[in-house]
Amino acid sequence: MTHDEQPPGHAVSPEGGGTADELSCEEAAQNVFEYLDGELPPGYSEKVHRHVEMCQRCYPYFNFERAFLDYVHDRGMRPARSAKLEERLKRLLDDLEGREP
């Protein structure tokens, strides 16, 4: 993961400081995909969630990445049709049925 994985121009908490229990923007951004995929441990996921909800820079960044993942899912699963394949499978089925006693 690189330093580029943080929202532009921000590396501290929005309150301008933060406690040891809070995440920096960089830490939150490093976990963006694991967070969006629901793959972080519950406690840590909650920390990321709290940070993102309160951070005016991370919030749009996380929304952007979520929009990207939704987009890939929605468009990527598009079915495809092939007349050649349909013909091939029809022949296979005829062949299998012909073999049955």
Binding site: T2, D4, P7, F33, E39, A67, V72, L89
Partner: protein, 166 residues
């Protein structure tokens, strides 16, 4: 069948002959194992599972000694910094035609494409992908990360070329 063929094309990187073989193998296995199918359960999910497992078993045979995956740091950054002022909501994605997205997925190197298809198209979790592909969870994460970044960069370049964004 169109759903199976579409998924087969994504897995095989758009290789039509390989995708047709994969669908045929899947349906042949399903035909032979039809007695094992529990009526009332989701037939499409059952067929999708057979297709996925057939592809992955073949992948394992072909990749018993996988080639190292290339690393291109520039291509693996988020495009958000370039876009956040103009299009921070990611609306430009919606203007990209479906064919371009499909092509971009299918052109990813296989090591990146397969985890992406499993996670982002099929919704499978990291641990299960790790078990299916017999690679550590950390490798699943990093390949998925790189696959998504490459895809994003590719779609961004296309959007710039087409004048959707400046």
């Amino acid at each position: 069948m169109d759903v199976l063929y579409g998924l087969a094309l994504r897995f095989t990187g758009g290789d039509d002959a390989a995708a047709q073989d994969l669908v045929q193998d899947t349906l042949l296995k399903a035909y032979r194992a039809w007695d094992n199918f529990e009526s009332g359960t989701n037939c499409r999910a059952w067929l999708t599972t057979i297709l996925r497992n057939t592809f992955i078993n073949d992948l394992r045979r072909r990749q018993s000694r996988p080639a190292p995956v290339g690393y291109d740091e520039v291509a693996e950054r988020s495009v958000y910094p370039q876009l956040h002022e103009e299009d921070g909501e990611g609306g430009f994605f919606d203007r990209i035609v479906d064919e371009e997205v499909i092509r971009a997925i299918e052109e990813l190197p296989e090591d990146f494409r397969v985890p992406l298809v499993l996670a982002d198209l099929e919704g499978i979790g990291y641990k299960e992908i790790s078990e299916l592909l017999e690679i550590p969870v950390g490798t699943v994460k990093s390949r998925l990360f790189r696959a998504r970044r490459r895809l994003q960069q590719r779609l961004y370049r296309y959007a710039v070329e087409m004048g959707y964004i400046r």
